[in-house]
């Protein structure tokens, strides 16, 4: 694989396709976008196949001193790889999801999505602090257009709120970055990861980053842009927003804040825990009373992200691995749920939950898929949600049993609002005439839901495929955090084996041997 700049290629293809889309007709623009995103997905698969698990921390490294003051430096580790995979996997599905529902200014729309893809995978690839910032901020522009042009009735308010809210957070991070560059004298991320900033400086840097990433995440109480943006965005916009954009914040947490400012992370651990606990309970309760499907799922995203932040700030292996799996799982599942909403929205043009009911009768395939993703969102064993939630809660428990207790209520509440949503839409009497007339999934919708379902199950049944590339990186982060990490309240100790009772020692010993030999 050496020699082929595969990461640059993955950035270049959507860029070129985006420019082509601007000049192409509607039909061609759709095709160009689909082909380009599929090629990027294929490249992503190649990337994964060639990724050497347990090898060097940074792989596929490219660097060129193109920008004078900072470098065009790309490279990925296991965490970045998985998030890039998530992005390139969701992208063709988003294009397909907008195939019929977007009819005006298709070329511009597809171009914006392709630019979005470049920006997102660029964020995960960047190995230079300023390059990272450029990609991180650049995402605002295409999303502003996507919400503002193709969004719902109140789209302009939502687009402005999204843009200004996230910009306000990001600029403070920039000041923190400038201070870091001044202190460390480099913009190279791998070097910065091992630089020991003075503890009192870490506090300020941590706060600067937190201002930006907490908004992106989004954490309570700065989450209010998210429901607006989600509700107004077109279906594919919500898919990408929930699927990947929300992961940028968490990625920033684990890439920058935790390994670069370990002392400050330990110091602010309880701030993050407190905000996460409030978010889990509060946003779950808010989700319970929503009458708009998209808003409900948007609030559930905030709740899930709160478990991610709590898991990350458990500062231990399990917690962080679990948080990463929730990120991937939520990326797939929430995108799928938003698409499920989009499917019925395209048929009836309303997101009011009360307007539906009894869909199990006339849309059985839809009901099945929706059920699967509802269960995955709740965290039913066998689905992706379970793995992440179980791991991260185990990690949180190690750090603090109180936090684990509060976060677990989120799962119960999650089951409540998701099942309640499912009951109101899919079960019940099929009484409304317009709902009766709704046809079941068409082949295009099958083609979108089937891969999402397959991945949700794969991640639930054999999460090791996804955990293995990330494990080494998580260990590195945990090792950076180890000196500063406070002791948890769960004094875990290996139990003492019970002395074998006289009399039946032989029999049980044999059985034990037999078990061990398998």
């Amino acid at each position: 694989m050496s020699g082929v700049p595969i990461l640059s290629l993955m950035l270049a293809i959507p860029t070129v396709a985006a420019i082509a889309c601007l000049f192409a007709g509607d039909r061609n623009a759709r095709l160009i976008a689909l082909v380009a995103t599929l090629i990027d997905f294929a490249l992503g698969v190649m990337l994964w196949a060639n990724f050497d698990i347990g090898g060097a921390q940074w792989q596929f490294v490219e660097s060129a001193p193109l920008f004078g003051r900072f470098n065009y430096a790309l490279g990925i580790d296991g965490m970045a790889l998985m998030l890039i995979m998530l992005s390139v996997f969701l992208m063709p599905l988003c294009i397909l999801a907008s195939w019929e529902s977007i009819t005006k200014r298709v070329g511009l729309y597809m171009a914006m999505f392709l630019i979005m893809e470049v920006v997102m995978i660029g964020v995960f690839m960047a190995q230079d602090l300023l390059l990272f910032y450029v990609f991180f901020e650049a995402g605002l522009i295409p999303m502003y257009f996507i919400i503002g042009i193709w969004g719902g009735a109140n789209r302009i308010y939502a687009a402005f709120k999204f843009f200004l809210y996230t910009l306000l957070g990001s600029v403070l991070m920039l000041i923190a970055m400038i201070a870091m560059i001044r202190e460390a004298g480099t913009t190279d991320i791998p070097t910065l990861l091992n630089y020991n900033f003075p503890p009192e400086m870490q506090t300020w840097l941590w706060l600067g980053f937190f201002a930006s990433l907490a908004v992106k995440m989004p954490m309570w109480p700065v989450h209010t842009w998210l429901p607006d943006a989600h509700v107004q965005a077109p279906t594919a916009g919500s898919m990408i927003l929930a699927g990947v954009l929300l992961k940028l914040g968490a990625y920033g947490f684990i890439r920058f804040m935790m390994p670069m400012f370990p002392e400050a992370s330990a110091q602010f651990m309880w701030v993050v825990f407190a905000l996460s606990m409030v978010a889990v309970v509060y946003t779950s309760l808010v989700a319970l009373v929503q009458s708009d499907m998209k808003k409900l799922i948007a609030y559930s995203s905030v709740a899930h992200m709160a478990i991610v932040t709590a898991g990350l700030y458990a500062l231990n292996q399990q917690g962080i691995e679990g948080a990463l799996i929730i990120m991937l799982s939520h990326g797939v599942v929430s995108a799928a749920l938003f698409f499920c909403v989009g499917v019925i929205y395209d048929r009836l043009h309303t997101r009011e939950i009360d307007r539906y009911g009894g869909l199990a009768v006339n849309m059985p395939a839809y009901a099945l898929f929706f059920m699967l993703f509802t269960m995955a969102s709740i965290g039913l064993p066998g689905t992706s949600g379970f793995v992440g939630e179980f791991l991260s809660l185990a990690g949180i428990y190690e750090a603090s049993s109180t936090v684990a207790f509060v976060c677990t209520t989120g799962i119960i509440l999650g089951a409540a609002y998701m099942l309640y949503l499912y009951r109101r839409i899919v079960f019940g009497e099929l009484t409304k005439d317009d709902v009766k007339a709704m046809p079941d999934l068409n082949p295009r919708e099958w083609a979108i839901l089937a891969p999402l379902a397959a991945v949700a199950l794969w991640m639930g049944v054999y999460p090791e495929s996804f955990l293995a590339p990330m494990r080494g990186d998580v260990t590195t982060v945990v090792a950076r955090l180890a000196p500063a990490k406070p002791a948890g309240d769960a004094h875990l100790a290996a139990g003492k084996p019970k002395p074998a009772a006289a009399g039946h020692g032989e029999a049980s010993g044999e059985a034990h041997h037999a078990g061990g030999a398998q």
Partner: protein, 477 residues
């Protein structure tokens, strides 16, 4: 003396070219518009070539009153380039009202600005400034029959005269208390304890110059003059004099009163923050695109002043890079404003009329979006980079609160930029038709080139820009 003349070729070329164009205008009459235009363009190009030929020399001429150095050279190149474009775009706008005086006045203004940018004595400073100002007052009221244009000229003149008075008062105080008009001698005299007279002198000089760069609270003339002046003249005001006045401000602050950091730094910080915030807030309610760009220029001057407030070489480099990027953006946006014509050929300046512009003229709307996002400093557009540089300079000079305040205020600025983009892209089409074919090939080429440069391509030039601005800024330290 003769040796000195060989070092001021750019000024000589402009003087001779300006006089020749004036003579041509007197004898050939107002019809030969193309001829004057050509004469002015050739003069400006020759002057720029002379600047390039002299680039790298660092000396003073005429008993130390004027400097010939890379800092002045950098500023002059920007000034001449902006003047060149303002000459090129004029005839299509003025049509029959185009007269020989326009290129002549631009040439003399450019000459004055060149002197401003390279002065190192309070006397040459004032001569350059007034030469530029007098030409500018006439340019602002160039459309004699248009009420708004005459009003703009008059307003500019009255307030400009007031500012000149303030500046002169400051100059006389500085001279009285330091005994010299030479920047270096003044700087040497400021080493010890500052007396109240010197502080007053510094305050008045900075206030007079702040008027020229339209920093808050000396900005009141800007929206009215920008709105009233003919659009090519507005484009000129928004670019070349900004560069000259900013270069002059830098020379005075760093070169002449540099040692008295305590006296000037807080003034500059106040000007910077006030300009950023008021420029942003004032722009929000604007319905006229030229007024809006006026507020945007006030806002951007604030960011340049942040670099200046740092008072370091890095800060000055940031100011110079900022000037260059700002100039490209502003010229690009004014070229688009020039093309906003309805089907009857009337100039459209109202922002609500731009609703749905992206569907009528997608290319121009996209370029405008690039310029606006760039002015707002959103990466990956290149407008981000100079903002980054000035903030970096401020942080490195331990002015972190200033950087934080400035960058947070930039979010307010982003609001009105994205509001125009909203009008162009999100709103339904307005009744105003924007027929095609409103621009010449040259104009379209300049718009395309600057939009492309301000999108990601500009980043490839960071190395070159850094080297250039470092050479230029090093002269002052």
């Amino acid at each position: 003396m003769t040796a000195d003349l060989a070092l001021i070729w750019p000024e000589l070329i402009l003087t001779i070219g300006g006089l020749v164009t004036l003579m041509l205008g007197t004898y050939a009459g107002d019809r030969q518009v193309g001829l004057y235009q050509l004469a002015a363009m050739v003069t400006l190009a020759a002057a720029a070539a002379a600047v390039l030929a002299l680039f790298g020399t660092d000396t003073t001429v005429f008993s130390g009153t004027l400097s010939v150095d890379s800092f002045g050279g950098f500023a002059k190149l920007l000034i001449y380039a902006a003047s060149f474009i303002c000459v090129v775009i004029a005839p299509r706008f003025f049509k029959d009202a185009m007269r020989a005086e326009y290129p002549v006045l631009i040439l003399f203004a450019a000459l004055g600005m060149g002197i401003m940018a390279s002065s190192r004595d309070l006397m040459t400073l004032y001569v350059g400034l007034e030469l530029n100002s007098l030409a500018s007052y006439v340019l602002a009221s160039f459309m004699r029959s248009d009420e708004r244009s005459s009003e703009a000229g008059l307003k500019y003149f009255v307030l400009g005269a007031l500012a000149s008075g303030i500046l002169l008062y400051g100059i006389s105080l500085l001279y009285g208390f330091t005994g010299s008009t030479d920047f270096a001698t003044i700087a040497a005299a400021l080493g010890g304890e500052l007396n109240i007279g010197i502080i007053f002198g510094i305050v008045f000089v900075i206030a007079g110059l702040a008027f020229k760069i339209s920093a808050v609270p000396f900005h009141m003339w800007t929206p009215d003059v920008y709105e009233g002046a003919p659009t090519p003249v507005t484009a000129f005001f928004a670019t070349a004099p900004k560069v000259a006045a900013m270069a002059l401000m830098t020379r005075v602050v760093i070169g002449a009163v540099g040692p008295a950091v305590g006296a000037w730094q807080q003034i500059i910080i106040f000007l910077a923050l006030a300009s950023i915030i008021l420029g942003a807030v004032g722009a929000i309610g604007q319905k006229n695109i030229k007024r809006l760009l006026a507020y945007s220029s006030i806002n951007n001057v604030g960011y340049m002043l942040i670099g200046l407030a740092a008072g370091t070489q890095q800060g000055v480099e940031g100011v110079l890079t900022y000037l260059l990027v700002y100039m490209v953006t502003t010229i690009g946006s004014f070229l688009i404003v020039l093309q906003l014509r309805d089907d009857r050929g009337n100039q459209i300046e109202s922002i609500p009329a731009l609703a749905g512009y992206s569907q009528r003229r997608p290319g121009l709307a996209a370029a405008m979006a690039v310029f606006l996002f760039s002015l707002a400093g959103i990466p990956p557009l290149f407008g981000f980079w100079p903002k980054y540089l000035v903030f970096e300079a401020a942080v490195n000079a331990n002015l972190v609160p200033l950087a934080v305040a400035g960058i947070v205020a930039s979010v307010i600025g982003a609001f009105y930029y994205i509001a125009i983009i909203k009008t162009m892209y999100f709103d339904e089409k307005s009744d105003t038709e924007f027929p095609r074919g409103t621009g010449t090939v040259v104009e379209d080429a300049v718009i395309t080139a600057s939009a492309l440069w301000l999108s990601v391509i500009g980043y490839l030039f960071i190395g070159v820009l850094a080297a250039l601005s470092a050479t230029a800024a090093a002269v002052l330290f």
